[in-house]
Symmetry: C2
Subunit: 164 residues, 2 copies
DNA sequence: CTCCTTTATCTTGATATCAAGATAAATACT
DNA sequence: AGTATTTATCTTGATATCAAGATAAAGGAG
């Protein structure tokens, strides 16, 4: 009997006409997701980062040398709006973790590149982040996690099937 | 090969020292969750609501007659801060969906109650919301969804085991 | 070459959230 | 009763986000 069960029990009393099975699935998933995000945030914070800034730095890092992408590419990978990305890059630039490099061939845009300080930081932070992800997924056995992956991938494909 | 696979492939090239298996699990889950939230928002919007306002109204509705709770109870159920709840109640009150009722026994606080308009609206919205949840979970068979529920409940219990 | 459209990014204004502090009333302690 | 503590809620200030519009440069049509 967790919090979600209590919510479902209330609905069954108040609105017995509704079949709230899916609400249990989505509700528990939502709570789990919330806990996971909180735990991930703790590690980001150890490196002075947030989910938002970590995402930008990690996207640049895993793009490979020279660790630089246009704002448009960053927007595409991180799925935020242009206004949000401007703000994120501004903050990271002020912190000395990225720099805007003018593109001589197209003066509309430029590249956002990791500084040496930014590269060192994100490499350390990613190592800790991955270790944290291992810790957080350890509640399931390897077999359970694999079964979970299959189900999530199937479900996800209902939304992204045409994008592969 | 979805977007998450591409991200993992990048990491395996750039940081072959990292075991990014859990990142796949969490990454796909995160994307799935994002899609689900977007789809849920669409139905909230049909009733002029957001996730935030729906949550408050639904919490009051499922509490049963007389559909009224203190801000403290609402904060507990919805897991937001007091400042956030003040803001939410302000909006809902301005929209005529809830009203603040003074508690004669404790003048520090009061009760937030559904207006008749609020009760009618949330009853309609919940019906549509539950139908939407059925639609969104239909990507999995009943057996798959049940297996998924078991795994999520187990994982969730790692975070909430002492709260049941 | 000039004008129009598209692309790339930034700016503005509105909203939601949180943390921390303020306010006010109830309760407990002496 | 009088003071201190706790509880309940609101206020303030900072941050992040988005949608829509502004700005500037590139590319295409004639």
């Amino acid at each position: 009997m967790d919090q979600v069960d209590r919510i479902l029990a209330q609905w069954r009393t108040e609105r017995p006409d509704l079949d709230v099975g899916p609400m249990g699935t989505l509700g528990r998933m939502s709570r789990l997701f919330r806990h996971l995000r909180e735990e991930l945030d703790k590690v980001y914070l150890e490196y002075g980062l947030s989910q938002a800034s970590f995402d930008v730095l990690a996207t640049l890092r895993r793009a490979g040398e020279p660790y630089a992408l246009s704002p448009s590419m960053l927007i595409e990978w991180t799925m935020v709006t242009s206004g949000t990305m401007t703000n994120r890059v501004d903050r990271l630039e002020a912190a000395g973790l990225v720099e805007r490099r003018r593109n001589p061939d197209d003066r509309r845009g430029f590249l956002v590149g990791l500084t040496e300080q930014g590269r060192v930081l994100i490499d350390e932070a990613v190592t800790a982040h991955v270790a944290n992800q291992h810790r957080l997924t350890a509640a399931l056995t390897a077999e359970e996690r694999q079964a979970f992956d299959v189900l999530v991938a199937k479900w996800l494909s209902a939304f992204e099937e045409n994008e592969g």
